[in-house]
């Protein structure tokens, strides 16, 4: 299936890309990140994933329709995912 990925803030720097439409063999977010790591290199994965726990690093968010996607969340054809760090302040 084809998934639209968009990168924001420092994740864009880690990927050296604004994002793209990616053809995915797998079905969930974890598999998508694996595919993106193959494409953008290990630095990209290191930025997102905690090596020890295998989960997201603190504050890394992958959103779809404003809602958080966990690593095991199943994806749908044509879905748009935004990779963004969670910040607030004023």
């Amino acid at each position: 299936m084809v998934i639209k990925v968009r990168f924001e803030g420092p994740i864009k720097d880690a990927a050296r890309s604004e994002g793209e439409d990616i053809k995915l063999e797998g079905t969930n977010v974890g598999q998508l990140i694996g595919a993106l790591a193959d494409r953008y290199g290990p630095r990209f994965k290191e930025f997102l994933i905690d090596e020890e726990t295998g989960g997201y690093k603190e504050g890394i968010l992958i959103l779809s329709g404003g809602r958080r996607m966990d690593l095991d969340t199943e994806l749908e054809e044509g879905q748009e995912l935004v990779f963004i760090p969670a910040i607030a302040g004023g």
């Binding site: 803030g9 420092p10 504050g59 329709g65 963004i84 760090p85 302040g89 004023g90």
Partner: protein, 655 residues
């Protein structure tokens, strides 16, 4: 004593100046910064009736910076002004970066306590052991930049740290701010008004003593650990890259922005595009900047308006200095519908120069614009108010310009209407027009703030309703529901529910614990922007380790948290003495009753969960659910029997 300075007391009525050490038992209980500021406030108001007029000479102005502030800890330095707040007539404090707090500490003073009222305009000059009260007549009536330059020229030091008010503070605007060296604003709750009420234009400080360290090796090891942990945190790099402007894009993705007086929570895409951090970086930013001593992040951004970047840039050509924060973009860009960074930056600078709280003015102008849209006010009104038929249409920069000027200078009816804040302004307009307008006032706990969508994020909504200093997002700063931080929720409560978005689950507990945690950070004197937003990265144990190495006083993370909780309870106790109860912890009609119209939180409104979460919030704090008052059991557990006795004598505590 390692890592600590003294208390400097200045009475502006008598001219008396004295110093004293901070009592060691007070350090044990409240650590420093906000904690000892609050203790000094509490002590003052055991001798003075807390129900005094906060604009009168009996109020007290306390400036303080905690022990890790001004050091190389690597987390920045944030000082606090503490006082009875004239903006909303309750506990008041206000925080600022800049270098003033550090200069004060380097001169040997962790806290300055100013009482009384000078009989003519003065400023205070601190140069290590030399402390003087000097004539400020030549600087009175001037904006902050001009006044600071004048004071520096007079004292012959162009780099000196100065905390200074503009015309708004002199004119006793209740939400006047203090601008600190020279573009960091202690904005909220009216510190500038307290300066003005004391005829105090500024405090200038220079210090050469530095801060002594008990265990230099242990201290450097702790700071090295802090630095490496920061580097490993992806959100740190997000903040470092764009500062708070990164929030614009993030909130756009989660429905967290507020548009046109929060009638909407999604900003039209073509407008959000030119308010993104990326637009600012590409078109106006010149370089990054760390606002305070010891900051290794540097989230401030310096900018220049060249004159061609945006539709309004020509008008502000040549403007240079610090760029706006998310606060200002939300206020003018979204709240007033002026999606133009050149204009937003200009208004940011104008508010700092007149010295007024962007939050309160950020509530007032969008409110007037909604009244205009609804036909409640018109050109006849504005002509009567300010001599010109100003049109308060969405996006009209002239209306914003005139409002800021009128509030600062207090030279017309428009300024007078807005002098005591948004809620009072609405009452003034209702009396004049005989039309109900309260339903368009955006406020929490009776005070205004900048707008963001909080109905879909119950922790933030509760923060706005319950904060000890009134409507505020910083007293319990956290990322659990807005950042979907299930990991923080799990670590704090053993459940991920507080980190699940768009639900009320566990959000009352999360709001309460965030207040204690944020206060624990504030009492150390560092910036909350990394520490509170990602508490799993820089945890309280690590901060306590740095503190112990600096001061030689044993402290662990749990004890630091308790000192934060104790401090927050002192603020609560102050408000309880003023008569504030559960019914005062509230949100405006729009947030309570109107459902969100669009975006991920569509349909949510606060009244659906507010009372249940308030119960949960009080319960977690150990306060009485019915009244909100503190209980004997809780205050005894916190070793605050002295506070309990005062409250019980006044019927302001329960069993």
């Amino acid at each position: 004593m390692y890592g600590y300075g003294e208390i400097l007391r200045i009475d502006l009525s008598s001219g008396d100046i004295s110093t004293e050490p901070i009592p060691s038992q007070v350090i044990r209980k409240y650590v420093g910064g906000e904690g000892i500021n609050d203790w000094l406030l509490w002590q003052h108001f055991t001798k003075v009736d807390p129900k005094i007029d906060p604009k009168g000479p009996d109020n007290v102005l306390i400036a303080g910076l905690g022990p890790l502030g001004g050091t190389a800890t690597g987390l920045g330095s944030k000082m606090k002004f503490t006082f009875k707040g004239p903006a909303w007539n309750m506990f008041g404090d206000s925080v600022a970066g800049g270098t003033f707090g550090t200069a004060m500490r380097y001169a040997g003073y962790d806290h300055i306590v100013v009482t009384g009222r000078a009989d003519k305009p003065v400023y205070i000059w601190i140069d290590d052991d030399k402390v003087e009260i000097r004539d400020a007549s030549a600087h009175w009536g001037k904006g902050v930049k001009e006044a600071v330059k004048g004071i520096r020229d007079e004292l012959g030091d162009t780099d000196m740290s100065v905390a200074c008010i503009g015309q708004a503070g002199e004119n006793l605007v209740s939400y006047a701010s203090v601008t600190v060296t020279e573009e960091r604003s202690a904005g909220r709750t009216g510190a500038g008004c307290v300066f003005g009420s004391k005829n105090l234009k500024a405090i200038a400080a220079r210090g050469s003593k530095g801060i002594s360290v008990s265990d230099p090796k242990g201290y450097l090891e702790a700071t090295d650990e802090i630095y490496h942990r920061l580097k490993s945190d992806p959100t740190h790099w997000g903040f470092r890259k764009n500062g708070t402007l990164g929030v614009v894009g993030f909130y756009d993705r989660i429905g967290g922005n507020a548009y046109r007086n929060n009638q909407f929570s999604m900003v039209p895409p073509e407008k959000i595009k030119v308010m993104l951090a990326r637009w600012f970086a590409d078109n106006m930013k010149t370089h990054d900047f760390a606002c305070s001593t010891g900051c290794t992040m540097g989230c401030c951004q310096i900018c220049e308006v060249k004159g061609h970047e945006s539709p309004l840039a020509e008008r502000y050509k040549g403007l240079t200095g610090e760029g706006p924060e998310y606060f200002t973009v939300a206020t003018f860009g979204m709240g007033c519908d002026i999606p133009d960074y050149a204009a937003i930056t200009h208004f940011h600078h104008a508010c700092n120069d007149y010295g007024m709280d962007l939050g309160e003015i950020g509530g007032a102008v969008p409110f007037l614009m909604e009244l205009w849209e609804r036909g409640i006010i018109d050109e006849e009104d504005t002509k009567r108010w300010c001599g010109e038929p100003i049109r308060f249409e969405w996006g009209n920069v002239e209306a914003v310009e005139k409002t800021i000027q009128s509030v600062g200078l207090q030279n017309d009816r428009l300024g007078e209407i807005l002098k005591d804040g948004l809620v009072k302004a609405a009452q003034n307009i209702m009396e004049e027009k005989d039309v109900p307008v309260q339903q368009y006032v955006i406020h929490g706990k009776g005070g205004a703030t900048f707008h963001e969508e909080i109905r879909s994020f119950p922790i933030w909504a509760l923060n706005f309703a319950v904060a000890s200093r009134g409507c505020d997002h910083l007293k319990g700063l956290n990322m659990m529901d807005k950042g979907f931080r299930k990991d923080i929720s799990k670590a704090w409560f053993g459940s991920e529910k507080a980190g699940e978005g768009y639900t009320p689950d566990l959000k009352g507990k999360a709001a309460a614990r965030s207040e204690n945690h944020t206060t624990a950070i504030n009492i150390t004197g560092v910036c909350v922007f990394r520490t509170a937003l990602n508490p799993l990265n820089i945890d309280l144990d690590l901060m306590a380790r740095a503190y112990t190495a600096l001061t030689g006083i044993e402290l662990n993370g749990e004890e630091l948290y308790l000192a934060g909780e104790r401090t927050y309870n002192l603020e609560k106790a102050f408000n309880s003495r003023l008569g504030l109860r559960r019914e005062d912890d509230t949100l405006c009609d729009r947030w309570m009753k109107e459902p969100i119209k669009e975006g991920p939180g569509k349909g949510m409104k606060a009244e659906d969960w507010f009372d249940d979460l308030l119960d949960e919030y009080y319960e977690y704090h150990g306060w009485d659910k019915k009244t909100s008052l503190q209980t004997r059991k809780k205050l005894e557990a916190l070793d605050m029997v002295d506070v309990l006795e005062v409250l019980e004598n006044e019927g302001a505590a329960t069993e």
